[in-house]
């Protein structure tokens, strides 16, 4: 595939903490970690999906003024950002493994309509749904 989505970003309150979470706990890999002055371009990728990067960005200058950055930090912290969805092969097994890592689950796995889903948050407040699709479904 030559065209498609390459980077999608989320705002995080602390990029080191975000690396600890996304890499250390969820098992993502750092794809890019580049600094330009105070600015840090940081992206990670799911090991099974190297074509898509998840940006872990700090609100702040030069992109945002201080008041805007502060507002974004507060919006993320109160869970106001849009939902993120991760597809997993075995929701319950992943839930057990990630819980043991200390991931903050907000919803235990629930089976409904043939699929199993659970929910967790990153340290900043971004909410993830973790969905195991019915196995008969074609991708």
């Amino acid at each position: 595939m030559n065209q498609g989505i390459e980077v999608i970003g989320v705002y995080v309150r602390d990029q080191d903490e975000a690396v600890d979470f996304y890499v250390g706990k969820l098992g993502f890999r750092v794809q890019a970690d580049v600094r330009n002055g105070d600015y840090r371009w940081l992206t990670v990728q799911h090991p099974d999906q190297p074509s898509v990067q998840l940006g872990l960005f700090r609100p702040g200058p030069p992109v945002h003024d201080a008041a805007t950055a502060d507002a974004l930090d507060r919006l993320v912290a109160k869970g106001a950002m849009p939902p993120l969805v991760m597809k997993v092969g075995d929701c319950r097994a992943t839930y057990e493994a990630l819980s043991a890592q200390g991931v903050e689950f907000v919803q235990e796995p629930i089976s409904r309509y043939g699929q199993v889903d659970a929910g967790f948050r990153d340290p900043s407040g971004n909410g993830w749904k973790m969905i195991e699709r019915p196995h008969k479904e074609t991708p």
Partner: protein, 158 residues
């Protein structure tokens, strides 16, 4: 008054806990403990962050959960009431009607008449979306409805 991101993140934790188990009782002391806020300040801090008091928020979750069970299961209404945190079917029916404008039985009949293509929105997201938008207190909503029905005929008097 701006609340710090750290405080908001902790208040979100209390909201998440109500989301996960809306059927349980959530005394202010327990929610305040989750947020590491004093019980005296918790309700106000929660309202400032999320726009409605914690127990009204809990009510919206319970009603949304009950509406989903009415739609998706054949469980008896009394069982749904008990499953979603009410101890009296009378209270459940009254508050359900106050908030949604219809009785639990009417809600079930109406939901089944319209088979909607639901499977493209993740179920967990859909549930949040279908939560009633409870901007006023239930009692206030009831009072407004009574006033509306009282006010209407008065205008017809010549």
């Amino acid at each position: 008054m701006n609340q710090s991101p750290e405080l908001l993140r902790r208040l979100l934790r209390a909201k998440d806990r109500m989301d996960a188990h809306p059927d349980r009782d959530w005394p202010v002391e327990r929610l305040a403990g989750i947020s590491a806020v004093s019980p005296a300040h918790f309700a106000r801090a929660f309202k400032l962050a999320f726009g409605l008091p914690p127990h009204r928020y809990l009510l919206t979750r319970r009603i949304e959960r009950a509406a989903a069970l009415l739609r998706d299961t054949d469980a008896a209404i009394i069982d749904i009431a008990l499953q979603t945190g009410w101890t009296s079917i009378g209270t459940f029916g009254r508050i359900f009607r106050d908030i949604t404008g219809e009785s639990p039985g009417e809600c079930r009949r109406r939901a089944r008449e319209v088979p909607a293509p639901r499977n493209l929105i993740p179920e967990c997201v859909l549930r949040a979306v279908e939560r009633p938008d409870l901007k006023t207190a239930v009692l206030e909503k009831r009072r407004q409805a009574v006033e509306a029905t009282l006010a209407a005929p008065a205008k017809e008097v010549p």
